[in-house]
Symmetry: C2
Subunit: 604 residues, 2 copies
Amino acid sequence: MAMRSHYCGLVTEALLGETVSLCGWVNRRRDHGGVIFVDVRDREGYVQVVCDPDRAETFKVAESLRNEFCVQIKGVVRARPEGTVNDNLKSGKIEVLCHELIVLNPSITPPFQIDEENLSETTRLTHRVLDLRRPYMQNNLMLRYKVSMEVRKFLDANGFVDVETPMLTKSTPEGARDYLVPSRVHDGQFFALPQSPQLFKQLLMVAGFDRYYQIVKCFRDEDLRADRQPEFTQIDIETSFLSEEEIRAMFQGMITTVFKNTINVDLGEFPVMTYQEAMHRYGSDKPDLRVKLEFTEVTDVMADVDFKVFSGAATMKNGRVVALRVPGGSSEVGGISRGEIDAYTEFVKIYGAKGLAYIRVNDLSKGRDGLQSPIVKNIHDKALQAVLERSGAQNGDLIFFGADKAKIVNDAIGALRIKIGHSEFGKKNGLFEKAWRPMWVVDFPMFEYDEEAERYTATHHPFTAPKDGHEDWMVTAPEKCISKGYDMVLNGWEMGGGSVRIHRADVQQKVFDALKITPEEAQLKFGFLLDALQYGAPPHGGLAFGLDRIVTLMTGAESIRDVIAFPKTQRAQCLLTQAPSPVDEKQLRELHIRLRNVDLAQKA
Amino acid sequence: MAMRSHYCGLVTEALLGETVSLCGWVNRRRDHGGVIFVDVRDREGYVQVVCDPDRAETFKVAESLRNEFCVQIKGVVRARPEGTVNDNLKSGKIEVLCHELIVLNPSITPPFQIDEENLSETTRLTHRVLDLRRPYMQNNLMLRYKVSMEVRKFLDANGFVDVETPMLTKSTPEGARDYLVPSRVHDGQFFALPQSPQLFKQLLMVAGFDRYYQIVKCFRDEDLRADRQPEFTQIDIETSFLSEEEIRAMFQGMITTVFKNTINVDLGEFPVMTYQEAMHRYGSDKPDLRVKLEFTEVTDVMADVDFKVFSGAATMKNGRVVALRVPGGSSEVGGISRGEIDAYTEFVKIYGAKGLAYIRVNDLSKGRDGLQSPIVKNIHDKALQAVLERSGAQNGDLIFFGADKAKIVNDAIGALRIKIGHSEFGKKNGLFEKAWRPMWVVDFPMFEYDEEAERYTATHHPFTAPKDGHEDWMVTAPEKCISKGYDMVLNGWEMGGGSVRIHRADVQQKVFDALKITPEEAQLKFGFLLDALQYGAPPHGGLAFGLDRIVTLMTGAESIRDVIAFPKTQRAQCLLTQAPSPVDEKQLRELHIRLRNVDLAQKA
């Protein structure tokens, strides 16, 4: 006979009167009125098991139960007595009268209770196996699975084929830092773990696979931020013979379907915004549209004001001056306090801003007297009027300013916009809409100028196609050149991004020229791609989504680590297995390497 | 308007009279009777496109076409003229009259024709992108995808959840050699790429995920044989609360479903054979049941024969003497020649055999005179009679012998059995059945004695559970101890294998004791598993299938490399990308390692 007939969490009143066999973990035992109640937990939920003293043997076993014992129960499903129904549980209308109780495996006392909250992350990651027993983590990972399965179903139905690309591949010292794997067979040589299967998926298009996907681990050896892991999972996609618009439409459809079928969310329309507009209005290429605040451009009117910070920024190369109007920010009740402004001033310094100018709009009818501000006296009427009119200022508003190199202004005031939107003040004053706000950002510039290196770099990557007609600008005017790149953004997170690729060898060569990559260098790093482009490569494009991010967004988890079964810490360690760890000298010798650190080498 | 309305290979008579838009590659161009015929190829097959001189512009483009040009065609589907129908093609009844022809991308002359056969593997792997355009490789990889998708569907329907386990994990110097990844953050420490997610999947069971699967890359840094790759793909599965028999039944169902739904093969019943019986009858734990030859055990009757090779083997520790009767092997017409016997004698030496004794059964009615053999005079009547009777010898048979340590006999005569079965002789004489012959091999011994190391090692791995009641033998009589391990075998290939695992810490400890793994060592290597077993670990078990092997079997490919898009050579190299390759000194410095080879180090 099977050990289990039903999952604990799925025993409902449909089974009334039936004998069931359940397996799971003791979540809690309560002795009440001479009877023992045991909440048994499995992947699907909880069930209440009742052991009464009439069955002496079973009762004796029940008395021995402790939390996290693994048990098997045979019993009969019956209705809970009136007044004890629990509507929060699927099994809340029933209980199981225990006829037979077997301890499959006892448990020592766990270091924490499974339903305990506010555990430190170190505790959780060290005892990850117990942490993973918590319904929160089980739900996160079950949802993650559902998402990936919905993605596969959608792609399968649309003719996409999962083709595996190598994990042991070639190091290309471009972009992020590679994880390296020393070769034993080839002395002094190394594989690299892939940062993405970008080149391979393009090769698959050239090979005629037409539509490719893979849900695949990628690797970056970077210093970790809250939303990064050394290994992360990408939904990697490429297709031939579709235009930029067709690609976007198809994958908007995919994400919409996935959200609908997993968490029953209708994402609605995805507005399409150019990169330029996004930077202009929000100072960000991944604007959080839930925040109802926008930049007001005032660079043009600040060139000749007395306030040097503004006039300097307005006249410098790549300078920018913007206003950020915060409706109600100067209300007498519930407005933004002086202390808060000071805190925001500190906050924007993280992004390189030197200060945070502001105007409190107390009473527009009083002209300059109705404005309270340390800077207003150094701003001439025309500029002041432009600020108020363009921003649509009202009595009670607070207007912040950013003035510096455009990049600093965008970063600092863009972050301030989010900060205020998400603050208690923002939420109370209708500056934040609790909703799902997806969008596309398109028309990225092909190149960014790296002032330090004094050269252009690729905004997406060097295989991104330019807009039709922009090909020659790659050489003559790189700064004007727009690419066929696109990002899908949701609530301020980049969920995915991609581009139409270059499919002609001559165009690819022009990009390398613009990036000052010599033909020799190009051949060495990407020779196999350049070679492949010569044999009738099809027009193609694609994108990659971050699975970890999508699931984090869906669950509202605080950290990406809450949607990964066995994540690394921010110091790139696995607290469960204690990886990385020292290895034998013999292993190093076989790989033709030695440790630089002499002390460590001697210990090995 | 979309670039493509249909796949080339799927245009059929159902579309007669319709205008279609096709994209693909020029497979061949023929100029015939003033008209140009172009076979255009895509993932789904071929279509014949006709360009006539009436459309001058299109005709001019058609004249410029060369093989492997990537083209777009608009045209009308019409019936092929009588007598030109090609029944081998889905599109063989129609052709497309071209109205518009665009060269999307020209091609230089490829290094080989796409339909060329007998290319060297080096050529194929160097120009892998073009090699992948061949319908043979496209079909192999499309089938591979279908197999993995069918696996996912089956597992999904049975409540299995795909949970990703880490690629950067801990080195455990046990089993095969690890691929190592130096840590940048932790000086002198290394991650290892997983040889399998074995420990993580067990942890997921302890965590209560109940049913887990993953189609996942695994890594072994071993010297490569024909059917091995440094990275290979495993269908990795684990379940809680199922017995050995239930697990086998479920995954027999999975493989049966997959074969049926992908290549329409009905695998039928899977016989279950113990390890002991398999070794006894076939000298192999993965017998190819298509071969109709079996061992005849004669160890017991050979102890006192004059032929020292036999008597020595029969009386030595772990010695074995077997006969392998080959029906018809001595037929005057079409039998096995003396030269072939000599070749087989050389063949068995590969497996350590010192020679290959044989008897030709010419005429049983003549007694000893009817037997032709260099050894028969040194074998007494009783033994000879046993050989003939037990093997069921008939006139015209050839009987081979193996006599040595059992391992050598099993390997050598087991290989000979396969060799003869697959030979022309075997196929002509009904010794080989062209069929799918799946089976289970069960009841593996828990331990094998490693004579060199003078200690027991685990036959499967140290987490395999012993049969109920065998627990104490692990310490008192390890050689008697049978495990709950099982392998699924198909046509002589191990497709997958697994076991019920140990779920109790005390039993796990006994295995470590039997393997002479000290508690300190166990704690260091597997501490996190031992720790987890203490918290109510559920009874669990699972298995892993080799996806590469399954698809190789299904396609009948000669090499596992023919079912992998971008494989490594047997020297663990990627000829396409030239990985592995040297890396910058800066990269090595960041990873706290240096090359041992001083000459190479200076170049870096």
